[in-house]
């Protein structure tokens, strides 16, 4: 027990040391050049850690805790009706249109009024995939399975919000491509 604690303490100290090294302004940046954090918009791309002055490493909000930033503008839902590529084959497709006010509850399922098998002729919407008709034992039902009823558990709209942090996700094909180029097996 005591050993564990010592190891933990050592780890924490190392971590703290690493952090404080990062948040100190690099020597070649003069004080005047360094950006006071409060002036930086929340949406600024956060690629490099910002050079912080002492006592400013307080929060990720970009401002001290006792101040209020102006609320960021609400992002608009993309309503292009254009399918987006999926990042991997089993990804639930994202919704390419607005769903404001669409009721999905015990009484009514607005999604299914277009995406149900029987409705797709009129609506020209894609039919829910055949997996949605399977119960958890893999048996096919005549209607969608109750466990698939609440569409928004997996399918969501996308907004035009700028990502707060970068994303370095690489899909399977990019990874294998890379491996091939490196001559790996």
């Amino acid at each position: 027990m005591i050993y564990l604690r010592i190891v933990l303490m050592a780890l924490m100290t190392a971590l703290l040391a690493a952090c404080s090294e990062q948040s100190n302004p690099p020597a070649n940046v003069s004080q005047a050049e360094s950006v006071p954090v409060a002036e930086v918009s929340v949406l600024a791309p956060v690629e490099e850690p910002l050079p912080l002055e002492d006592g400013q490493a307080a929060t990720l909000r970009g401002a001290a805790l006792n101040t209020d930033l102006p609320a960021p503008v609400m992002a608009a839902v993309e309503n292009t009706d254009l399918k987006r590529a999926r990042q991997y084959p089993m990804q639930p497709p994202t919704i390419p249109h607005k769903i404001d006010g669409y009721q999905v509850d015990l009484n009514a399922n607005k999604c299914m009024s277009c995406h149900a098998r029987s409705r797709t002729g009129e609506s020209q919407a894609p039919m829910v995939s055949v997996t949605h008709f399977q119960d958890r034992d893999g048996n096919f039902l005549a209607e969608i399975s109750p466990r698939r009823y609440f569409c928004n558990q997996c399918h969501v709209v996308q907004t035009d919000a700028r990502p707060l942090v970068g994303n370095s996700f690489e899909d399977y094909y990019q990874l294998t491509e890379k491996a091939n180029q490196e001559g790996g097996s």
Partner: protein, 196 residues
């Protein structure tokens, strides 16, 4: 007894006036007419406002509360659809017909047919069906009072909207309420409703 009473008053009514001139009678009748007509129409106007509709708690706590979250209550254009905009016809004969039907609803109020949320929800399918039927029969007249098909710019609509509006709606095969149920209130159990 009643017969005698009626006969007596009938004879008074039939007696030509002795003390009044024809002029007084005509002008008086005219004025009375204006007053009654005005009163009638004022009553119509008063009952044709949202304040009147939501003055009873059944409407305030259910349809009105639900309307508040929809685009017909608040939107970027600042145009507000009120209850009578969607529920009372503009032209006079239809309006009177709807008002007579509404008198029945006042009975419902007096006897507490939908006095609680639960009772309202139980009744909702019936109530909604009446509205769908009415809007289906008049080709969604109330919607069209604000949304005129002639002036819809398809190029400014979403692809889905444009596709449906330029086909099924344009050909008259479908009307607004066929596709736009539940735009102002929550829907009842839709089992068996066409298109659901």
């Amino acid at each position: 007894m009643i017969k005698r009473f009626i006969r007596k008053y009938w004879s008074i009514l039939r007696k030509p006036p002795v003390h009044l001139s024809l002029g007084v009678l005509t002008v008086g009748g005219f004025m009375a007419g204006i007053i009654f007509w005005g009163g009638f129409n004022t009553a119509l106007e008063v009952t044709n406002t949202e304040e009147f509709c939501v003055s009873c708690h059944e409407m305030r706590d259910n349809p009105f509360a639900e309307l508040k979250t929809t685009i017909h209550y608040s939107n970027r254009s600042g145009v507000r659809a009120t209850c009578p905009d969607c529920h009372v016809p503009h032209n006079w004969t239809d309006k009177i017909a709807r008002k007579m039907a509404a008198s029945k609803e006042v009975w419902g109020k007096l006897f507490g047919t939908i006095s609680t949320r639960e009772k309202f929800l139980d009744k909702r399918r019936d109530l909604a069906e009446h509205e769908w039927e009415r809007l289906k029969a008049n080709d969604s007249l109330e919607c069209r009072n604000c949304h005129n098909f002639e002036f819809m710019d398809f190029t400014r609509q979403s692809t889905r909207a444009e596709q449906q509006h330029s086909t099924a709606l344009a050909s008259g095969e479908k009307t607004c309420i066929d596709c736009h149920k539940g735009i102002a209130h929550e829907l009842p159990d839709m089992a068996g409703v066409e298109g659901w």
